[in-house]
């Protein structure tokens, strides 16, 4: 369960990224975030991940009031979230396997379990044979799949995905959406920010449209759902 009350974000350079966002996403829902470049999609996701504090408003995730000025347990919050984002890159001097395993190491997962889980997720993203390769030897699309694997390997309760399919080809795009839908079926809440009209048209989930720092009307939302 994610709740946002009157959340606004104005960056120090006076850019208003979000104005008065009110949102409730029940556990297990699949939601799209959409809007043009600069409309605040990534800002909203970063706030949910505790990377950015809203200028005003409150955010409650799974009962944690993460906007509380003395909220200190950000790492507890992050352990239940899988964030698929270009913001934090893969480590270029490590192998594919090591990059994915790091997500489990930092939460103190025992070695055997790491081995099992990393093997499984690499199989799911089609990189089972690239585990020992360096990140530098992957194509752009392959790197994107490692980022997805890293975010999902720890079976998060909540998945935040920022344009996860932008540079994937059609087949891979479908496979990755399939992977996310599997998680969804198992009860994971999913927030997916995308500008890909194909995706929005194909999947009948709720779309939260953002527009240059103000929430658009529900009317417009319906228009887009039809288009």
């Amino acid at each position: 369960m994610i709740q946002m009350f009157h959340v606004s974000k104005t960056y120090p350079n006076k850019i208003v990224a979000l104005t008065n966002i009110n949102l409730e996403i029940p556990s297990g829902e699949f939601v799209f975030l959409s809007g043009p470049s600069g409309s605040g999609k990534s800002t909203l996701l970063r706030i949910l991940f505790g990377m950015e504090r809203p200028t005003s408003g409150e955010v409650i995730i799974h009962g944690m009031r993460i906007t509380h000025p003395r909220f200190k347990k950000i790492h507890h919050l992050r352990r239940i979230i899988g964030f698929i984002s270009q913001d934090f890159k893969l480590l270029r001097d490590r192998t594919v396997w090591e990059n994915v395993a790091l997500a489990l190491e930092v939460v103190g997962c025992p070695p055997q379990e790491i081995k099992k889980k990393v093997g499984e997720i690499l199989l799911r993203v089609g990189l089972q044979e690239r585990g020992r390769d360096s990140i530098l030897s992957l194509s752009a699309g392959e790197q994107q799949r490692v980022i997805i694997a890293r975010a999902l390997v720890n079976q998060p309760l909540l998945i935040l995905a920022d344009e996860p399919t932008g540079i994937l080809d059609t087949r891979m795009k479908e496979e990755m959406m399939g992977l996310l839908l599997d998680f969804h079926q198992n009860g994971t809440t999913i927030l997916l920010a995308t500008q890909d009209r194909e995706l929005l048209q194909k999947f009948p989930y709720r779309v939260i449209p953002l527009q240059g720092g103000r929430r658009m009307d529900i009317i417009e939302e319906e228009v887009q759902e039809e288009g």
Binding site: H76, L77, R78, L90, L102, A103
Partner: protein, 297 residues
């Protein structure tokens, strides 16, 4: 918890191996800093030992009239012994004085050929208690001695006394001021050097934070690294210093035999070496602590 530390240790070693170059640089720089500091303390140690030996030499010499009889000498000795601040007295006969003179002249002792000891005056050397070795108190003592009969002249190394207190003062000042400056410089250098090695892993730290790593999980390997760097740096510094010390001593001792032999040159004691190693570890830990505070925010 033990597993956590085992894993932290494992990560610290893996990081050091993976970042061999900045780590070696850090160790080298730490060891040079500590080498400088140890050279300074070693010099201070030897100098203060030298001063201590010198302090022991501060004494008063009383020259007696040449015609003083043995009984009269006995009386003078007794009266001096009774004075406040006198530790011990020693009678130097004209023969002893002659022997001393010959010894003092060394190679040039030939010029004494034909001189009879008799023409030298007998004298008495007075050792003072430590707390009486100050200019003022020595002067008072001397005025008392001068009242004793049969005394020709009283001498004391008054220049020495003044030099001595001056040097002692200087030593203490230097030790605290220079030592403090050096410590500050070393902490600055070590923390900055360690910061450079941490900076080179900023990306990794960033990613680990995003994956939900606890602050302790991120920082403890750096503390361990700092500890190890400090320990290795201190060990290297002591080894280098010992090497330098040995080379210097080995080359100089046979050459200057009889010349500096009364001033032995010391190396640190075992306890001091352990203390330096521990100090290196503390500095490394402290440096990585400061560095990680700055880098990890």
């Amino acid at each position: 918890m033990s597993q956590f530390f085992r894993y932290a240790l494992f990560r610290a070693f893996r990081n050091m191996r993976g970042n061999l170059f900045p780590n070696l640089t850090a160790i080298g720089i730490i060891s040079i800093s500590l080498l400088l500091a140890s050279i300074f303390s070693l010099i201070a140690l030897n100098f203060s030992y030298f001063l201590k030996r010198w302090e022991e030499k501060i004494g008063v010499i009383v020259y007696l009239k040449k015609e003083t009889s043995v009984n009269e000498v006995e009386e003078v000795l007794t009266r001096i012994r009774e004075l406040q601040g006198v530790e011990s007295v020693k009678y130097i006969s004209p023969f002893d004085a002659m022997a001393f003179l010959e010894d003092r002249l060394g190679e040039q002792r030939s010029i004494l050929d034909g001189i009879r000891p008799k023409i030298l005056p007998p004298s008495i050397e007075i050792d003072l208690r430590r707390e009486y070795r100050t200019s003022a108190q020595i002067k008072e003592l001397i005025s008392r001695i001068k009242t004793i009969p049969n005394i020709e002249e009283v001498q004391y190394g008054h220049e020495w006394v003044e030099t001595f207190s001056g040097l002692n003062h200087f030593m203490h000042l230097t030790q605290w001021v220079l030592g403090g400056l050096l410590l500050a410089a070393i902490i600055f250098i070590i923390s900055n050097t360690i910061q450079l090695t941490i900076s080179s892993r900023r990306e990794e730290i960033e990613v680990m934070k995003m994956m939900g790593a606890s602050p302790a999980f991120i920082q403890i390997p750096f503390y361990i690294e700092g500890l190890i760097q400090g320990l290795l740096g201190a060990g290297l510094a002591i080894s280098l210093l010992f090497l330098l010390y040995e080379i210097l001593l080995q080359s100089l001792t046979p050459l200057l035999k009889g010349w500096i032999s009364p001033i032995p040159i010391f190396f640190f004691s075992g306890e001091t070496i352990v203390a330096i190693l521990a100090g290196g570890m503390v500095l490394g830990l402290f440096g990585s602590f400061i560095a990680s505070m700055r880098v990890l925010r």
